[in-house]
Structure formats: structure tokens, C-alpha cells
């Protein structure tokens, strides 16, 4: 695990963070629940809690789907390529590429490869950035940079947990046991290498 330069983090004592979705996106409850689950994965191992709010401008974390140039100097590039990006704390900006084919229920088994990306997998990764984690060289970690189509990976690895707990400490209710890394759900890709 790594951190951004100078190890930015949410200020001590700020354990209750709010998040909101860009109103223009008009996301369904199903999509919003995907993000709720993704936040919960980080809450389980840290003292941080995340609550959705309808006040986009006042939220700590602001989530939006955009296409192409969306004003932050990091334009999206259409299907696949870059999928999303997020800013280090306390910026709280979380942008996803609106051109991707986002799958929201994570059922990737027994399907053929396609240009679809598991939304929750990407959300868990980007929330790691929002909290202060950089990319990791550990291939099994959530914070590994490549998040390919065809794979669902949402469980925090030891590397992720150790990193985030170095920044924020552990959730008092976290028992510290080994994370239950379930086998990655992968499509039958007929011999193609596993991808994240």
C-alpha cells in the first residue's frame, strides 16, 4: 500500500463523512446502493462512517458520472481506457466515466467477455483514493491500478486494510481477522489471462 505525497487524510475527528451524487445524473436506487456497499467495505475496517446526503455542494464526497472533458483537466476517453478517478483528501471529488458499460449487480459468472465493468469494484478502489491511499503493486489489492472488465473484485485485501488503518486506525468492532478474499469472479475467457 502507498499514500499520496505528504500523506493527506481526512482530519482527525472527522469520522462521519457525507457523500452525494451529482443531481444531473439522476441515479437509480440500485446504483446508489452499489456505492453504499462500497463505502461500507472501508467502514468495516476503520472508524470512518459514510452517510448519503442530498446536498451535493455541501457533501464531503461528491460523486458524478461524466463523459469526455469535464473540467478537471483529466478528460475521460470513452469505453474502457480510464474508468474513473478520484482526488486525495480532503478534496472528495469522485468522477466516473459515463461512457462505460457499468454492471451493477456483479453477476459476471458464465458470461462472455465484453466491455463491461463492475461498478462496485471500481467504487471500492476509488474510495481508497478519496481516503488517502495511492496505488499498490500488490496484484490482489483493491488499490492495484488496473480494474479490468470481466472481473469483480470488491473485498479489501490485507494490503488495503493495513494501509487504511495506518491512516485512520482500526474500527473498534473490527476483529482483525484475515480478510475473506473470495475467489475472483471471472468470466470464462477461454484461456485469456485473468484480469483485474
Amino acid at each position: 500500500y502507498t499514500f499520496f505525497p505528504n500523506r493527506p487524510r481526512w482530519p482527525p475527528g472527522r469520522t462521519q463523512l457525507t457523500y452525494a451524487f451529482l443531481p444531473d445524473n439522476q441515479l437509480s436506487d440500485n446504483v446508489r446502493s452499489v456505492f453504499s456497499r462500497a463505502f461500507e467495505r472501508w467502514s468495516e475496517v476503520t472508524p470512518l462512517n459514510f452517510t448519503e446526503t442530498t446536498s451535493f455542494d455541501r457533501a464531503d464526497i461528491r460523486i458524478g458520472f461524466f463523459t469526455g472533458d469535464h473540467g478537471d483537466g483529466e478528460p475521460f476517453d470513452g469505453v474502457l481506457g480510464t474508468l474513473a478517478h478520484a482526488f486525495s483528501p480532503p478534496a472528495g471529488r469522485f468522477h466516473l466515466d459515463g461512457d462505460e458499460n457499468w454492471v451493477i449487480d456483479g453477476d459476471f459468472l458464465n458470461s462472455s467477455p465484453a466491455s463491461a465493468v463492475d461498478l462496485e469494484s471500481v467504487a471500492v478502489h476509488e474510495i481508497g483514493h478519496l481516503l488517502g491511499l495511492g496505488h499498490s503493486s500488490v496484484e490482489g489489492a483493491i488499490m492495484y491500478p488496473t480494474i479490468s472488465s470481466g472481473v469483480r473484485k470488491v473485498e479489501l485485501a490485507n494490503d488495503d486494510i493495513t494501509g487504511i488503518q495506518e491512516l485512520y486506525g482500526a474500527n473498534p468492532n473490527y476483529n482483525g481477522s484475515e480478510p475473506t478474499l473470495t475467489p475472483r469472479d471471472e468470466w470464462d475467457m477461454s484461456g485469456a489471462p485473468p484480469r483485474m
Binding site: T2, S28, N30, L80, N101, D107, S111, S112, V117, P145
Partner: protein, 130 residues
């Protein structure tokens, strides 16, 4: 575009190729060669922090800066650091990924904050390579 599952995606939304697939044509390229498409690859590496923002030699020449970028990328992704665009390296490069850079301000954010050893085409490059 949101879909409840993979099978619900209309075929018309599934592209035949993606933006980085063309990099597969650069198989075998190494320092000293000139190949169409290397300029775009240099922009790829700059986007993710492997070439310094001051780097502006976006031609199709495989220069020493690109070689260092490739080596750093290979180290970050636990590949053989050959500096050559071998199949395993290209296989990683074309994968969809997070848009955040792997290297910020010359520091690798993928290997526990270790310096990038000059591979990002910064001012320390000659103290390392030569």
C-alpha cells in the same frame, strides 16, 4: 450506461477495439527504434506519471526517457524490467484502469513511496542510468 448484468448489454454498445488496443502493435519495440504509435504511448506514460510533465518529445522515437518509463512501469507491475515492450508488458498496458497516476511528483506511489529512481525523466535521470 447501467446494466443489471453482463448479458443485458446490447451488442451495439460493445466496441470491437478500445482506445489502447493499438499499443499491441508496438510489440518488441525497444530503445533506439522508431515506430508509429510510440508518440501516443509516451502520452500514456505521461498521463500516469511515468514521464515527467516537462517531457515534450512526443515523436515516434523510442528514446531513453521512454525506456526508463517502461522499466519503471514494469517494476511497479512486478514484470521483468527489460525496458522493452514485451508481450507481458503490453498485456498490462492495454488493460482498463484507474485514471489516477501511479507516480506523483516523481515518487512512485505503487512501491511504498520509493523514489522512482529517475525513471520519470526528471533531473536525476543521468545520475541513475549513467
Amino acid at each position: 450506461h447501467f446494466f443489471p448484468n453482463i448479458t443485458s448489454i446490447p451488442p451495439s454498445l460493445i466496441p470491437n477495439t478500445t482506445i489502447w488496443d493499438a499499443f499491441n502493435n508496438l510489440h518488441g519495440c525497444q530503445k533506439g527504434v522508431k515506430a508509429k504509435g510510440l508518440a501516443k504511448l509516451k502520452k500514456y506514460f505521461q498521463l500516469f506519471g511515468y514521464l515527467n510533465n516537462s517531457y515534450d518529445n512526443f515523436d515516434d522515437d523510442f528514446d531513453e526517457f521512454l525506456e526508463f518509463a517502461v522499466k519503471t512501469y514494469q517494476l511497479n507491475f512486478n514484470l521483468n524490467a527489460t525496458g522493452e515492450l514485451d508481450p507481458s508488458t503490453l498485456k498490462h498496458i492495454v488493460l482498463p484502469r484507474c485514471g489516477n497516476p501511479d507516480i506523483v511528483n516523481g515518487t512512485s506511489t505503487m512501491r511504498s513511496g520509493k523514489p522512482s529512481d529517475g525513471y520519470s525523466a526528471n533531473s536525476t535521470i543521468h545520475t541513475v542510468e549513467h
